[in-house]
């Protein structure tokens, strides 16, 4: 018994000693925790770009900044973090997240002055506007275009049929192995399929009078969409579209000269230049006698988190700092995507002819719908595309996808 009492005493003494050290640690941690600073979340690709500007931000804003990279599922993690107590202050992401982020109360509107608004590419501004409010500061606009190897195909094709004919000739002559590199993959890719679908008359959502997308008017499953997929099915049968070409190999097929035509965006240009391929960028051709093959416009934006601990600094950063020309140009230099800020775009246009070409390819392109209902489309639409490219019956597949999407939207 006595041993036990002694034990307790010793234990208590030890406890005091250790907790003494512990409380010292605590003080340090506390100081670190309450340190004023802005926390920015980005994906692995953009985080290093921002990190390189960190010290500049810090000296100009007068606060410390932490740039953190979320390697996977940034949007989902941001929403969860907003629900917990650990939300970042600023998030960088695609504008089509806005609908979901707003319904989860994760982001706040950004108040821009009229002068600031006028400085942006109008399409970019439209893309980040949701329910009449601007929800993000756009910094880059990107869309798909047709990139062709000018050594193999000197002339830009006037239509898909034209392109396929040239490509078949190249393949027959043994100069290439594939007709076209447009990523499909085993589970489809709605974003890359959309220009073809649009050219053949299909649409995803109708638009309301004010230009907003109308979830009540679903275009998938309408007769136009079935016709459009018939055209896609033909391309699949000819081997122009292949499920074996996906995100992992579409760009390399082009850089290695295995195909003369690639449908991709500004992110592909770096690899192509590195490979030393001579290329030109033109709008994606439409089907003969049918509509333009308009791609979707994607806008990379800075968002102000609702639940951040330093919201005013975040607003200052997003509304008054990111919107300036110097930063936009600097971001372009670090990661060459067409700037959303007109002044910056004009400045770099002279040195980078690709920008204007991408902009031309994206002329009249609708922004990716930001409404939450959009998320119901991606998966079934992509799978329908993949199945049809693989030779499945068009009507049955499209109607099946339409039912799935319709059910998901109704919920």
């Amino acid at each position: 018994m006595r041993v036990k009492i002694a034990g307790v005493a010793v234990a208590a003494a030890l406890a005091l000693a250790v907790s003494g050290c512990g409380s010292d640690d605590k003080k340090d941690d506390g100081a670190q925790g309450s340190e004023p600073g802005l926390v920015i979340w980005a994906d692995d690709k953009r985080a290093p770009v921002l990190e390189s500007f960190r010290s500049q931000f810090e000296s100009e804003l007068g606060v410390t900044i932490k740039v953190e990279a979320v390697s996977k599922d940034l949007q989902a993690n941001f929403v969860t973090a907003s629900q917990g107590d650990n939300a970042p202050d600023v998030v960088i992401g695609a504008h089509d997240w806005i609908g979901n982020l707003v319904q989860n109360g994760a982001i706040d509107p950004v108040q821009l002055t009229d002068a600031q608004k006028a400085g942006f590419n109008p399409d970019a501004l439209k893309a980040v506007t949701y329910n009449g409010q601007v929800y993000g500061a756009p910094y880059a606009v990107e869309n798909l275009a047709l990139i062709r190897n000018t050594d193999l195909a000197p002339e830009a094709p006037s239509s898909i049929e034209d392109m396929v004919a040239d490509a078949e000739k190249l393949k027959k002559d043994g100069k290439t192995e594939e007709l076209l590199s447009l990523q499909v993959g085993d589970n489809g890719d709605a974003y890359h399929a959309y220009p073809l679908y649009a050219s053949a008359g299909g649409y995803l959502f109708g638009q309301k009078d004010n230009g907003d997308y109308d979830p009540a008017d679903l275009g998938v499953g309408k007769p136009e969409s079935i016709e459009a997929f018939e055209k896609i099915s033909e391309l699949g049968k000819k081997g122009v579209l292949k499920t074996s070409i996906g995100s992992e190999n579409s760009i390399p097929l082009f850089t290695e000269g295995k195909t003369a035509y690639l449908v991709s965006g500004p992110w592909a240009v770096g690899d192509i230049k590195k490979a030393g391929v001579n290329y030109d960028i033109t709008p994606i051709p439409g089907f003969e006698g049918m509509g333009k093959a308009t791609p979707f416009l994607g806008v990379q934006s800075f968002f102000v988190a609702s639940k951040g601990k330093h919201k005013t600094v975040a607003q200052e950063f997003v509304a008054n700092y990111v919107t300036g020309e110097p930063l936009a140009t600097a971001l372009y230099n670090a990661d060459p995507r067409p700037p959303a800020l007109t002044a910056s775009f004009d400045k770099v246009k002279a040195t980078d002819p690709d920008l204007a070409k991408f902009a031309e390819a994206g002329a009249g392109a609708p922004p990716l719908p930001a409404i939450p209902e959009m998320s119901a489309i991606w998966d079934p639409f992509g799978k329908a595309e993949s199945a049809i490219v693989g030779g499945a019956d068009v009507t049955e597949t499209v109607e099946g996808a339409a039912t799935t999407i319709g059910d998901a939207i109704k919920k």
Partner: protein
């Protein structure tokens, strides 16, 4: 002889007794550390007045002391408690939380509570009053350290100081501007630095200087604007009213939305309880129930076949290697463990690329043109093959471990009794192996039953039949649930939780049956 034995026993007794003191010291030290950790953990909780937290820490500490200071009656607990505490904290509590969400509509649009939704709706409706000036802003504090906005209108050259009471004119002479045009000093106020202002972020956000037709709010640290919130919550009618259009959205407590007369909802909703709705949906909704059963059989087949093939190959390798003085023994062993050493997710992605129809290694190597992932059967074969590759080294390792534990004498004895190598294996080795390995095979079955990565990172559940984009040929219940919950229509977390309860019940039942079988064996061996 007896004397020697007694002597040795006495010696060893002394040995044990001597180390009894060490045991005591160790025990006291450990309890001391526990107490220290408890104090360390409790201080911030006290600081935050989180008495529940304090209670939990105190209870856990008391429990530990009680267990380790009490006599041997609670002996098993002494051995079980460290793992159990970790298990409770980091597995059981999260699972219980997940279960608790299965009776709610928790998901995208329904994450927070109603108040958060209201704040979000009101904030989202703040717009700049048309024609109002854009102010330059400096954030300052007055003599009592209360927050003040120092405002200037560059167009008119006027200056104001604003707080919660309203605006007060400032004489231009009272204000100093820096080179960049920023207000650096204002008579009677202290201008805050960015870092100081950052710390009072919440206060700044909350301050709206009242003026006619709205409030002047900070927009960041250097600008301010006059804004009004068009939508406001009215407690009287439990509704949100838009002051500009006059539209009214009434709260719908059953669904956690504000809905207008036409049935249109505001996007920001809140989390409400939906009772057993999620569960009945699993059972009654054809879109869920139909696939559920059709996926189930493949799910079982996948888990059982995965375990069987990996076990057979693993065991075969272990037996082949279970011999003293086999040439290249160490080399074989090292090479065979390699698949297990490679990061599984990376290898799953690489396998996926290897199965590509036109560019994949497998088709090019064997000169095939098989669309591995476009036919359900080849896709199933492919994922099983990948499982075999990933899993057999594990089975090899555990079989080796188990083989080592079988006393060689037992086998030698069987051989002396005239058994051939194979007979000895079947009658002696295998049953003994199964005693220690059956629970493990069941664990492995359970793991594979829910092996999300194996499917998601390779086929993604595909191939999908024409017209059916919800269920693919290789979908497991868990990948199917994942898409149901997070893929298609946005996150429906509560619903996913209720589906996972069904999955859990199925796996648990099957495993429990398997366990009963083991139990008999175990008891026999004892």
């Amino acid at each position: 002889m007896d004397a020697v034995q007694t002597a040795s026993r006495q010696r060893s007794k002394q040995g044990y007794a001597g180390s009894g003191l060490t045991g005591l010291v160790v025990r006291i030290t450990l309890l001391g550390v526990v107490a220290a950790l408890a104090v360390w953990a409790v201080l911030p909780l006290i600081g935050a007045r989180s008495w529940i937290g304090v209670g939990v820490v105190a209870a856990a500490t008391a429990l530990l002391f009680w267990i380790y200071l009490s006599p041997n009656r609670r002996l098993p607990l002494k051995y079980l408690i460290p793992g159990t505490l970790l298990l409770i904290a980091f597995q059981i509590v999260p699972v219980l939380y997940t279960l608790s969400t299965s009776v709610t509509n928790f998901g995208d649009g329904h994450r927070g509570d109603k108040d958060e939704a209201i704040v979000s709706i009101e904030t989202a409706s703040i717009t700049q009053v048309p024609g109002s000036p854009e102010y330059d802003l400096a954030i300052a504090a007055d003599g009592e350290d209360a927050l003040v906005f120092i405002l200037s209108d560059p167009a008119s050259g006027k200056y104001w100081a604003g707080n919660a009471e309203g605006l007060r004119d400032l004489a231009p002479t009272d204000v100093q501007k820096g080179l960049s045009g920023k207000i650096t000093e204002a008579e009677g106020y202290t201008i805050l630095t960015a870092a100081e202002a950052a710390e009072r972020s919440q206060e700044i956000t909350d301050l709206a200087v009242p003026v006619d037709g709205g409030g002047i709010r900070a927009n960041g640290l250097s600008r301010a604007f006059q804004g009004t919130s068009a939508r406001a919550y009215d407690e009287g009618c439990d509704c949100v009213r838009d002051a500009v259009t006059g539209q009214v959205w009434t709260a719908d407590p059953g669904h956690g939305y504000f809905t207008d007369a036409a049935g249109e909802s505001l996007p920001q909703g809140w989390q409400v309880s939906v009772g057993a709705d999620n569960f009945t949906r699993v059972i009654t909704d054809d879109k869920v129930r139909g696939p559920f059963l059709s996926v189930l059989w493949w799910n079982f087949a996948f888990a059982i076949i995965s375990v069987l093939v990996t076990f057979v190959l693993g065991l075969l390798c272990a037996i082949a290697l279970h011999k003293e003085r086999l040439r290249f023994k160490a080399l074989y062993r090292t090479l065979m463990v390699l698949p297990y050493a490679m990061p599984a997710f990376a290898m799953l992605l690489i396998w996926r690329d290897m199965f590509n129809q036109d560019f994949g290694l497998i088709n090019t190597m064997f000169g095939l043109d098989v669309g591995w992932f476009s036919n359900p059967w080849t896709a199933r074969f492919a994922v099983i093959l990948v499982q075999l590759w990933l899993g057999f080294p594990y089975m090899f390792l555990v079989s080796t471990g188990a083989l080592q534990s079988i006393p060689t004498e037992t086998l030698e004895a069987a051989k002396i009794d005239g058994a051939t190598g194979f007979q000895a294996f079947r009658r002696v080795t295998l049953p003994l192996l199964l005693v220690s390995l059956t629970p493990l095979l069941i664990m492995s079955f359970a793991f594979n039953f829910n092996n999300f990565n194996a499917i998601q990172l390779t086929t993604g559940g595909g191939p999908f039949e024409a017209g059916n984009s919800t269920v693919g040929g290789t979908d497991l219940l868990i990948t199917y649930t994942y898409r149901l919950a997070f893929g298609g229509q946005g996150a429906e977390y509560g619903f996913a939780a209720s589906v996972s309860v069904f999955i859990f019940l199925i796996v648990a039942t099957v495993s429990a049956i398997g366990f009963r079988v083991t139990r008999n064996q175990e008891e026999v061996y004892r």
